[in-house]
Symmetry: C2
Subunit: 128 residues, 2 copies
């Protein structure tokens, strides 16, 4: 398999409502996560949902980092996809845990990429 990157599908449970309800509080925290973890941000966008809950999308040179929060469940749904260095993905997760202090974390780690047989096959011309 040709590994293009590591994708961590992360559920953070038991976060504090006040940390994940409004951009006012949350944005400073998530930006600290990004800065500490050493990823390269090409673009970022944050959105405040009504009445509460936020979303962040970071386009990284390494791929992407997204966050969606459900304060009513003290829950954050996070995706960290880094091509190249797998370490960076785990580093983002560590910084997240430090900043948001979840009671419980669930991680599914997925290696993204191409099976060798596919690469061999597609290197031949693809039929129209």
């Amino acid at each position: 398999m040709i590994r293009v990157g590591l994708h961590l599908v992360v559920e953070l449970y038991g976060c504090k409502r006040e940390d994940i309800s409004t951009l006012e509080v949350y944005k400073e925290k998530i930006e600290r996560v990004v800065n500490k973890s050493g990823v390269t941000v090409l673009s970022s966008y944050h959105h405040q949902f009504n009445p509460h809950g936020v979303t962040s999308i970071f386009l990284l040179a390494e791929s992407h980092f997204t966050v969606h929060t459900w304060p009513e469940y003290n829950y954050m749904a996070v995706d960290i996809f880094t091509c190249g260095s797998a370490e960076k993905a785990w580093q983002v997760l560590e910084c997240l845990k430090e900043e948001f202090k979840p009671v419980k974390v669930k991680v599914i780690d997925i290696i993204r990429g191409i099976p060798y047989e596919e690469v061999q096959r597609v290197s031949a011309p693809i039929p129209e």
Copy 2:
């Protein structure tokens, strides 16, 4: 479990290089996918990598839709996360397949959300 949404982790193999190498060709196609699939785009961002390969990030009212391409492998790494309607996620995938005509598709479908026991536990005050 409280389902907040459906997340499809999608690998598209055997896409045409010319369709996924430059924003010039690719962007029109991906925007058609988004328009046809009926999701609500809050914000979008596209990036051209050098010498080839592109990334798109769509922040949706439903959650997010991201694409990263590796034209050298005829490969697209796609994530479709829709809260609320699971149908919409599958609809995006159908539109993607119509537009990019991959030779093979691999999908991991993940229900994002909170186990009941977690919700009960976190409704109590969380210790500092």
